[in-house]
């Protein structure tokens, strides 16, 4: 099996899907000639032509809004938002339109649409090239939100998102693009949206997380293993719908839950996960439910000491998990 980077897995999946389904079009800022600012779409315009890989005007509401129209009229658009930070001008189209069209039309219309956007920090991107925005969308019924942590998942989740008949936000961690590598089968496969994945089984503490933090949590778990602490790492994969069953199962199994995300603590996905456990598995708990998340400051600063202070690291996860194990 080929070993691909996270970025390559996404690119090759886009290519495979576009070969499979002529209705798929890609567009966004710089996705064509330039192949995207991260080069995720590199080579695709060459293969599929200017009509299927479109350099659009610099206008996110138009990018998403026209994709909605195009989806309704028979295409399968995969618009790219250049950085997740720039998705806000399209908020109105995503939340008020894409998410509500099926419901408001009583099922007469629907919007098969995959919005791709790189997110996350740790790459000197500063306030406006480091944001985690998944919580805004995970709050919205009608949307699905997925975040892969590995090249394998990147492929399977992207194919599933494209297959889905509803709008899916697909966030790619930019720090994972080149640093995370793994085996990826050549043939097409789908990873069901809404299913979490136990990336490492364990007994003492459950680490529930997603995205790049899965990789960091695995590193932390590995270190703790040497200390005799056994962590289970649950990769949520999908922020909406959440896999409630898997969340409760791991909570019940270990009785100690650490939730990790890079997004700001307050109002992040972690609160929802914690609340689900506190409502449905409370009496299995042996310790408080702990969240380790981005600090409640507006966004990630640029200067290395500040960026470092903001970012969640394997060490921070390890320390919190150890503390919890020893509770």
């Amino acid at each position: 099996m080929a070993v691909l980077s996270y970025l390559e897995a996404i690119r090759e999946t886009l290519r495979q899907e576009m070969r499979r389904d002529p209705r798929i079009i890609i567009y966004g800022e710089d996705v064509g000639v330039r192949g995207g600012v991260f080069r995720v779409t590199e080579g695709l315009q060459k293969e599929f032509g200017e009509e299927r890989v479109i350099d659009s005007p610099l206008a996110e509401a138009a990018i998403v809004g026209t994709a909605i129209g195009a989806a309704i009229n028979g295409l399968r658009p995969i618009p790219e938002i250049q950085f997740a930070d720039f998705i806000f001008p399209a908020m109105n189209q995503i939340i008020q339109e894409a998410a509500r069209i099926r419901y408001r039309s009583n099922g007469a219309f629907h919007v098969p649409l995959v919005i791709r956007a790189p997110f996350g920090g740790g790459v000197h991107g500063a306030l406006y090239h480091s944001q985690s925005v998944e919580a805004f969308f995970a709050h919205v019924p009608g949307l699905k939100v997925v975040i892969p942590s590995t090249p394998y998942d990147a492929k399977g989740l992207l194919a599933a998102a494209i297959e889905d008949e509803d709008p899916v936000l697909y966030f790619e961690h930019k720090a994972a693009y080149r640093s995370v590598k793994g085996e990826v089968p050549e043939e097409r496969y789908l990873i069901p949206i809404g299913k979490a994945d136990v990336k490492k089984p364990g007994r003492d503490v459950s680490i529930i997380t997603y995205g790049l933090m899965v990789n960091y949590s695995l590193r932390a778990a590995e270190e703790l293993e040497k200390e005799g602490i056994s962590c289970e790492v649950l990769d949520l994969r999908s922020m909406r719908p959440l896999d409630v069953e898997a969340i409760l199962e791991t909570a019940k199994k270990t009785g100690k839950v650490l939730i990790v995300h890079e997004d700001n603590l307050t109002g992040g996905i972690g609160g929802e996960v914690s609340a689900l456990i506190a409502e449905h598995a409370l009496f299995y708990l042996d310790a408080p439910i702990v969240r380790l998340a981005g600090p409640d400051v507006p966004a990630m600063p640029y200067s290395p000491p500040l960026e470092h202070a903001f970012m969640i690291s394997p060490e921070k996860i390890r320390d919190k998990a150890r503390e919890l194990a020893q509770f």
Partner: protein, 326 residues
């Protein structure tokens, strides 16, 4: 009039739909005043612009993206009075939304009437997207977005026109300029007289048309649709019109415009003007008119009765259609 393709029959049909819409509209307001419809919107005064434009399209095949003002439009496009009333009264069988949306939030998949929400100007972008797909799929369809002049202040209006022009898409932006956005007069909305003045800045034709003349409207929309189908790109059309009644049943327009102004505008009531014109041309006779009026009365009564008897949605359906599959 012959060379534009409008036969006497078509013109009578136009008139019928304008009059039907006015009658439906009046009935809706009565239902509201009787407490049977919590809120209603109106197309009263806009009928010529809407019906004229509908007739210029390949109805049911081309896409229209209406807004809450477009009762006459959707009727002319094929929505039945019963369907409209099911919608107005929030009934389960409302094809627009199954009773989920407020009245006048149109959408009819089979007729290619795009579902609309309340957020103004979003449909401008959707029409552009529909047209993008049409261009790629070569399905020959034109998409038309309808919107008020107030909504042209929204960023999405701008983004839509710009995108459509760059990609030369088969789309028409049809503005119904009635001079007010609820209470805000257009001089507080924009520093130019005409919405059409913006077209040039996007690189597309901007056409002003008398919104009280359905034939003129028909002609300019037809031309724009031909242009679109030829691959020559979008057109911005501005139909000058007036809303004769308040914005919605929750509004009181006496707060922001004089009765004299409204009376003055009513002298150019498109329904009355078109009636006179058709009579003058010998297309409409007194007899035919009476017959039509009776027919409309019957249709409106039937639609109202039908909808009032129709069941409300089952509360359990609250959970339907959140997703296609989970």
């Amino acid at each position: 009039m012959a060379d534009n393709g409008l036969t006497p029959e078509l013109m009578l049909d136009m008139y019928y739909h304008m009059a039907l819409s006015r009658a439906m509209d009046d009935r809706m307001w009565i239902l509201n005043r009787q407490g049977r419809a919590p809120v209603v919107y109106t197309s009263n005064g806009h009928e010529a612009a809407q019906v004229g434009s509908a007739f210029a399209l390949n109805r049911g095949e081309d896409w229209i993206c209406p807004y809450y003002r477009d009762l006459a439009l959707v009727l002319a496009y094929g929505m039945t009075p019963r369907e409209v009333m099911l919608h107005v009264l929030g009934r389960a069988d409302d094809p627009n939304s199954g009773g989920r949306q407020m009245p006048a939030h149109w959408g009819h998949a089979k007729l290619h009437i795009l579902t609309g929400g309340s957020v103004v100007a979003t449909q401008d972008v959707h029409a552009t997207g529909l047209a993008l797909a049409s261009k790629i799929l070569k399905d020959g369809r034109v998409a038309v977005a309808y919107f008020g002049e107030g909504s042209t202040s929204q960023g999405e209006f701008h983004e839509a026109l710009n995108f459509a022009a760059v990609h030369k898409l088969p789309v028409i932006f049809f503005n119904e300029n009635n001079g007010y956005a609820i209470s805000v007069p257009s001089r507080k909305q924009m520093a130019v007289q005409d919405v059409a003045a913006r077209a040039q800045g996007y690189g597309m034709p901007g056409v002003i048309v008398d919104g009280n003349d359905p034939v003129k409207v028909y002609e300019v929309v037809k031309e724009a649709a031909d242009r679109a189908r030829r691959g020559d790109g979008p057109t911005l059309i501005e139909a000058k019109t007036y809303r004769f009644v308040p914005h919605s049943s929750d509004d009181d327009d006496r707060a922001y415009r004089t009765r004299e102004e409204v009376q003055e505008a009513k002298k150019r009531d498109p329904l009355i003007l078109f009636e006179a014109r058709l009579k003058e041309a010998g297309i409409l006779t007194d007899e035919k008119l009476k017959e039509m009026q009776q027919q409309i009365k019957d249709v409106v009564n039937d639609a109202t009765d039908y909808a009032e008897k129709a069941p409300l949605p089952d509360p359990a359906t609250l959970w339907d259609h959140v997703y296609g599959s989970l």
